[in-house]
């Protein structure tokens, strides 16, 4: 019995010793919890509001509003997770060195690794919407599909820039990616995924304007629920294109720098 307990404790100390090497991951979990609690606080405030129907845009019900919020937020998660996951998989499988000595750049490999997750995200969105339509009376009769597709495409471009930035951190530090968790946390809290941005305090409304997903959500809801045409969507599309124009070159630059640093420090294939 004593021996078994000692073995269990030894295994616990092993994990503790490994975790001590990644203390930032622990701190990030504390912040992640803060974002989650704050999100639910504002959600409850919104739901308890007597003016709920007035603050909802496009005069739709909350179900339609939040369904699109969840479906689109999935793409941000995919963009931020896929690059990390590809790198983590390659590190765990010890394939990264073999990939890096091929005639294909790591950025191309990362971009190619995004196709499958994005296609599955599209499929998931369609399933979300289909369940909503079939079982819960969600109506897409007046939707502007072209507008929705364009908003989605420019959103994916902007999100990909964030994903590559996030992967740069992982490349350098291997674990506890704060870029990803902070961005996901702030986006969940402030972008209007579960409630309109208008219910948030001023400083969070300002933060929302700095997040690409805010414009994606506005544009997607306007296209799918309000049937807004391309002219009406132009401000959201332009905002997302601006994010993409800044984030993609910036992320390529940062990623190339991070890759170069790992070649200098010899930590490229460290797990």
């Amino acid at each position: 019995m004593k021996r078994a307990l000692r073995k269990l404790l030894t295994l616990f100390y092993r994990d503790l010793a490994i975790a001590r090497g990644y203390r930032s991951a622990f701190v990030l979990e504390i912040f992640e919890a803060l974002f989650a609690v704050a999100t639910f606080y504002y959600l409850s405030r919104f739901i308890e509001s007597p003016q709920l129907s007035r603050v909802l845009p496009q005069g739709r019900n909350y179900f339609a509003f939040v369904l699109i919020g969840f479906a689109l937020f999935d793409y941000l998660g995919v963009a931020l997770d896929s690059f990390d996951k590809m790198l983590e998989d390659a590190l765990q499988n010890r394939v990264l060195e073999a990939l890096l000595v091929t005639r294909t750049s790591l950025l191309t490999i990362l971009s190619g690794s995004l196709l499958y997750p994005f296609l599955t995200a599209v499929l998931r969105t369609l399933i979300y919407l289909a369940w909503g339509v079939v079982l819960f009376g969600f109506s897409l009769s007046g939707a502007n599909w072209l507008g929705a597709i364009i908003v989605l495409l420019v959103s994916v471009l902007a999100f990909s820039g964030l994903g590559i930035l996030s992967a740069s951190y992982l490349l350098l530090y291997k674990r506890g990616n704060p870029a990803k968790w902070i961005l996901l946390g702030i986006s969940a809290l402030a972008s209007g995924m579960m409630y309109p941005v208008s219910v948030l305090p001023g400083y969070l409304q300002f933060t929302a304007r700095l997040l690409p997903i805010t414009y994606s959500l506005d544009g997607m809801r306007a296209a799918l629920l309000g049937g807004a045409g391309l002219l009406a969507l132009r401000s959201e599309i332009m905002a997302l294109l601006t994010f993409a124009a800044i984030l993609i070159p910036l992320s390529f630059f940062v990623f190339s720098w991070a890759l170069q640093r790992t070649r200098v420090t010899g930590t490229l294939t460290h797990i």
């Binding site: 060195e97 091929t102 420090t265």
Partner: protein
Amino acid sequence: MGCPAILAENLAKYFPPAKSGWRALAQPFAKQRIRALAGISFSVECGEAIALVGVNGAGKSTLLRLLATLLHPTSGHAQVCGVDVATKAALVRTKIGYDAGVEQSFYGRLTGRQNLRLFATLNGLSRQEFADRIERLSELLELSPFLDQQTRTCSTGMLRRLSLARALLHSPEVLLLDEPTRSLDSASAVAFRRYLKNEIIGRQRATLLFASHDISEVEELADRIILLHQGQLRMFGSPRALCAAAQNNGLEAAIRALTGAG
């Protein structure tokens, strides 16, 4: 006369000490103090087979990884086929085949063929070229019995063969192999060495730089030997020259004498 296949000039590689906890945040910017290689200079001609020899920690793998563009030199220069490994890494990668000697370096849920096809495509091979090459390599490395098996179910020896096949698939001009026949049974090792010598070096005129602890392998394949010790080049010459320098008839004893390993 063309440029050398591999050229190193005063090449050095230092690593920063590993940091943990909050100090790990400064790791990418830490000063590189731990010496892995220093003052390495040599030149290898096209079609030569060169063995990298030395005890563990001598710097053999670091040198291979520098030439494979996986590491950036701290100082000095290295070129592969006249192309600088630090400034034109992408171009260097079009010329090399590299095998790190790590067996578990495949996507376990994919079959051997699927894994090799992925790497062949990333190396720019067409479907037809892949089909032709895989047929030839299957024959040589006896891949057929497990080629369509998920690699997570393959033995170490099988993975080793797949790994070598991956390095050879795109017919590189320069082959960088880290302990190529480790984990192979003796018959397969002999067949592979014969293939390297006759086909890759003999017919294709590719250049081979390989790290090895197997003296018989070194004797069989190497035209010249780079002897590394504690990150420095102790000697570069033919096996006979090494023996002469150590005043010893056997290569193994000569290497031991030259590295002061008794």
